[in-house]
């Protein structure tokens, strides 16, 4: 007894009962893959004609569907067990299928790509990463403009002075824009990674998340790697870097320069705990971590080498 294979492709669902016996059941024109369901492996709603056709097939013959979603939908629509296709069955179904229409296929894939991209970029984590990268870039350009302005000789009474005046106003606008951006970034960081923001400060937290490429990747990183995250130098056993983005953490300024590596090490350990709490347990552990961080800072300030 031959199994009936059901496979979704594009906007249609196909019923494959043999190498040359393929029936197509077109779905709604733009039904399957819209912005709110980018690529789940099956149309949003199965074509009623398909369910009718499947209802007429032999109930004793196994029904095999390609893809998890399609299996669930069929099982719900037919009230009958549906087996999930393995790779070989899926391959057999694809080999039997006709080649897709090139124009419709391209339209569908591009629409789905754009929708998937937008959905991914909209997540709070990605917004935080984008904001953090923008802030870093803007900070660099504010600094560059300031340094250039300091070196600029504006001779009074010349057109150079006029230029310097206009430039100063522009720099003021740029600095204000940077301040606004930092405020937005910090608010976003406090919302997305609250524990980490409390331990290292919201701006540093955002930078750490940006370097790791998201909060979840950051939560999988060990504290020793977190300490070096964002460093431009290569780790090496002899003269490796001692800190990366964590150097900008709250409290680093209060520690004597020769003890900052020790402080970075301790803060990295606390930050690793904090971000794991943010990503997995969602508990507020910031009070305890901040207390430990401050105690460590005070010890390092008192200690003599």
């Amino acid at each position: 007894m031959r199994a009936t294979l059901v496979v979704a492709r594009g906007t249609s669902v196909y019923l494959v009962s043999g190498p040359s016996a393929v029936r197509e059941f077109p779905g709604a024109r733009d039904g399957p893959f819209t912005a709110d369901r980018p690529g789940r492996g099956a149309p949003a709603e199965l074509p009623p004609a398909l369910l009718r056709a499947l209802g007429q097939t032999d109930r004793a013959a196994p029904l095999v569907a390609c893809g998890e979603t399609l299996c669930r939908q069929l099982a719900a629509g037919l009230d009958r067990p549906v087996r999930r296709a393995d790779a070989a069955a899926w391959h057999a179904a694809l080999e039997a299928l006709p080649l897709p229409d090139p124009v419709a296929e391209r339209e569908l894939v591009l629409a789905r790509a754009r929708a998937g991209l937008e959905a991914a970029l909209r997540s709070p984590e990605e917004v935080l990463v984008t904001l953090a990268r923008e802030e870093e870039r803007l900070e660099r350009s504010v600094g560059r403009e300031e340094r250039a302005a300091e070196a600029f000789l504006a001779l009074p009474g010349t057109v150079l002075a006029e230029h310097a005046h206009a430039w100063e106003r522009t720099r003021g606008v740029l600095a204000a824009h940077h301040r606004d951006l930092v405020a937005r970034l910090e608010a976003e960081a406090r919302r997305t990674v609250p524990n980490l923001s409390a331990v290292v400060g919201p701006r540093t937290a955002a930078r750490l998340v940006a370097v790791a490429g998201g909060a979840a990747p950051l939560a999988r990183i060990s504290s020793s790697r977190l300490q070096l995250l964002g460093s431009r130098r290569r780790p090496s056993p002899e003269r490796g870097p001692r800190y990366g983005a964590i150097y900008l953490a709250d409290g680093t300024d209060d520690v004597p320069p020769d003890r900052r590596a020790a402080y970075a090490r301790s803060v990295a350990a606390l930050a690793a705990i904090a971000v794991r709490a943010d990503v997995w347990t969602h508990r507020d552990v910031s009070g305890e971590l901040v207390r430990r961080r401050d105690a460590r800072r005070d010890r390092l300030r008192r200690r003599r080498r």
Partner: protein
């Protein structure tokens, strides 16, 4: 400006142009897309055909071709699946090789490179971007049909398993081709590159008749291009090998980091 030298069609594919220089042979692909350049590559127009420079320093496929790769190459009119397309540097050239009648299904997992891939796809009519993880072929299995070849550049510890899983679903059973850039350093440091290569070749040869692997040092350290075809009727004649250009001692900018001495 000098008049552009004539392109000679490569024996590998008529869409791959060769230009003889004094010390090397340059590779160019006849483009399907439109300007501007995807990643700053050179464009040249000769006899009404547009070509894009295919630099061995930018693409592992180009590096392998210039080192005498005899394995499968995307041919005009075929459908290929590209795993790990990133921002579309090599993917755009693979799409060029497939030509306007071909199709390239390019899978990429990370969001930001994918945004650039979508921008490339808007200008490359035969490039179809899919946001998804190559480890979960079910997620894009509702769009990708049977393909003639799979090109993979996924630096994962289980890269061979991932490619074989995709081949099991999507690759044509007669003569289907697999070409993969194997990054041995992401397969673990406890074994050396050649050992990883042998293990990968053994795993792949269960499904494919392998071509000779090509080592991609020094531009791509601890990388190999590995691939072959499934037994059965092939779509076209066996392409002869590409003329070799002498290997350079280092990458285009010299070695970036001194090698550790052992």
């Amino acid at each position: 400006m000098r008049a552009p030298a004539a392109f000679k069609a490569s024996p590998v594919s008529p869409r791959l142009g060769l230009r003889e220089r004094r010390d090397r042979v340059e590779l160019w692909t006849e483009t399907v897309g439109s300007e501007p350049a995807v990643y700053g590559e050179r464009w040249a127009r000769v006899d009404g055909r547009s070509f894009r420079g295919f630099e061995p320093s930018r693409s592992k496929l180009a590096a392998a071709l210039s080192r005498g790769w005899t394995g499968p190459v995307p041919l005009a009119g075929e459908r290929w699946l590209y795993l790990g397309a990133a921002s579309g540097t090599t993917a755009s050239h693979v799409a060029d090789l497939l030509g306007p009648a071909g199709r390239l299904y390019a899978v990429e997992r990370s969001v930001r490179p994918f945004a650039r891939l979508v921008a490339v796809a808007e200008r490359w009519p035969n490039l179809l971007p899919l946001l998804g993880d190559a480890k979960e072929p079910e997620r894009y299995g509702d769009v990708v049909p049977i393909v003639d070849g799979i090109y993979a550049d996924i630096a994962q510890p289980d890269q061979v398993t991932i490619v074989l899983a995709n081949a099991a679903i999507f690759l044509r059973s007669a003569g289907g081709a697999v070409t993969m850039a194997l990054k041995t350093s992401s397969m673990g440091r406890e074994r050396t590159g050649p050992v990883h290569l042998r293990a990968a070749e053994e795993a792949l040869s269960a499904d494919l008749v392998l071509a000779a692997s090509v080592r991609l040092d020094p531009q791509y350290r601890s990388h190999y291009l590995v691939g072959g075809r499934r037994a059965g009727a092939r779509p076209a004649a066996v392409p002869p090998s590409h003329p070799r250009s002498p290997p350079s001692r280092s990458g285009p900018f010299g070695r970036r980091f001194p090698r550790p001495r052992r």
